[in-house]
Symmetry: C2
Subunit: 202 residues, 2 copies
DNA sequence: CCGCACCACTGACAATTGTCACCGCCGGGT
DNA sequence: ACCCGGCGGTGACAATTGTCAGTGGTGCGG
């Protein structure tokens, strides 16, 4: 019996997957969580064989949780399950010690099998996606550039961002200008969007 | 046997729901589609009793499809199933002739029952959500203001938007200024975001 | 120890954006 | 006939944003 932890923020998706996986006779969902913060404590408590983690979660992201998990509970295999096949996500997932990376736009039928494969220690990763990730440029942004872009995502003015990050407006402007250059865009809105799409933020 | 049409863009979610609903002995998923464009043709072919529609779909939106459906196939009840409980969405859904509106952040267990209820002609709509929708201001934007905001969502410059919509840059600036005023925001990025969040676009 | 990259900041300048007053045109309602 | 609101536009002005060159300070690897 493979013991599963399921982390997914959308209640209906979470519930549906839990029922579905529960139908397989070798799988058992032993824990379900809806936030990133709960993942590690719950995993330490229930000791699942495989953790199925969404990336976009309230609290900490599934990627951060994966990092924590492979440090604190290395016998638990991590399978990332996400809406977006962003190059940065794949890169981070592998670096975080995840064994598998599955996109939600694939068929459900693949899921149970992917779980069995990561349990056997096999890597689950679409070859095309792997190639695209290797082809794509790695994250060119510095830590501060990421912070500033993330803070600009809600359309805040430079003055707002400066206040929130305790920086001078000029400094913010400089970081934004650098980020705009590195992303090959023409203003902060575009820069934030492409950085997000590439999985370069948070 | 209740015949269902299922429209949802995320393949895994769609597949999971199909399996799940198929387990109920009075339900039968007779068609699954992943785009908005397929909804009406498929419905006309398979004549489902209930159509379960996501809103955010490639091609036309679930709301537009709902409008078409209640015109061309009035005996088919529409249940909207969506990620976002935006006031504008609820308003549009009801105006489009949908009988039910269900958010994906609720438990899966509610879904089958909601389907049975819309089939009986009952309205499915969370009372709190209904109240919030009535409390919220209706869409204050004119058609052109919506167009311009939608075109500015990707961070385009005013010149870009003007070209795309065949308008003078000055006109675009005027519409944006009006939209910024009406949304109570301070620049086009914020305006586009709040308009989107309220379900005022597309 | 030196170079290098990153962080934080300043000041100047140009380009873009946002505001406002104002124009004419059309269509619907009273 | 009249008013009103939406559409499309102009021009002027102020505010914000983006670019660039340059200043220091820090920490890390060769």
């Amino acid at each position: 019996m493979i013991r599963l932890l399921l982390a997914e923020d959308q209640a209906m998706m979470r519930g549906a997957l839990a029922v579905l996986l529960g139908l397989e006779e070798d799988l058992e969902v032993v824990a379900q969580v809806g936030t990133g913060t709960e993942i590690v404590p719950t995993a330490l408590e229930v000791r699942p064989d495989v953790a199925l983690l969404d990336i976009e979660l309230p609290g900490i992201s599934g990627l951060e949780a994966a990092r924590e998990l492979s440090a604190q509970l290395p016998e638990c295999r991590v399978l990332i399950l996400t809406t977006f096949s962003r190059p940065g996500y794949v890169r981070e997932a592998m670096a975080a010690g995840a064994l598998g990376f599955l996109a939600k736009d694939g068929p459900v039928e693949d899921l149970a099998d992917a779980i069995r494969r990561v349990l056997r220690g096999e890597t689950v990763l679409d070859p095309g996606l792997a190639a695209a990730t290797l082809r794509a440029a790695p994250n060119p942004l510095t830590s501060r550039e990421r912070d500033v872009l993330a803070a600009s995502e809600d359309g805040s003015s430079i003055a707002d961002i400066a206040q929130r990050l305790f920086l001078s407006p000029s400094t913010v402007r400089n970081y934004l200008s650098a980020a705009i250059g590195k992303t090959g865009t023409r203003n902060k809105t575009e820069a934030a969007l492409t950085a997000r799409r590439n999985g370069w933020l948070a």
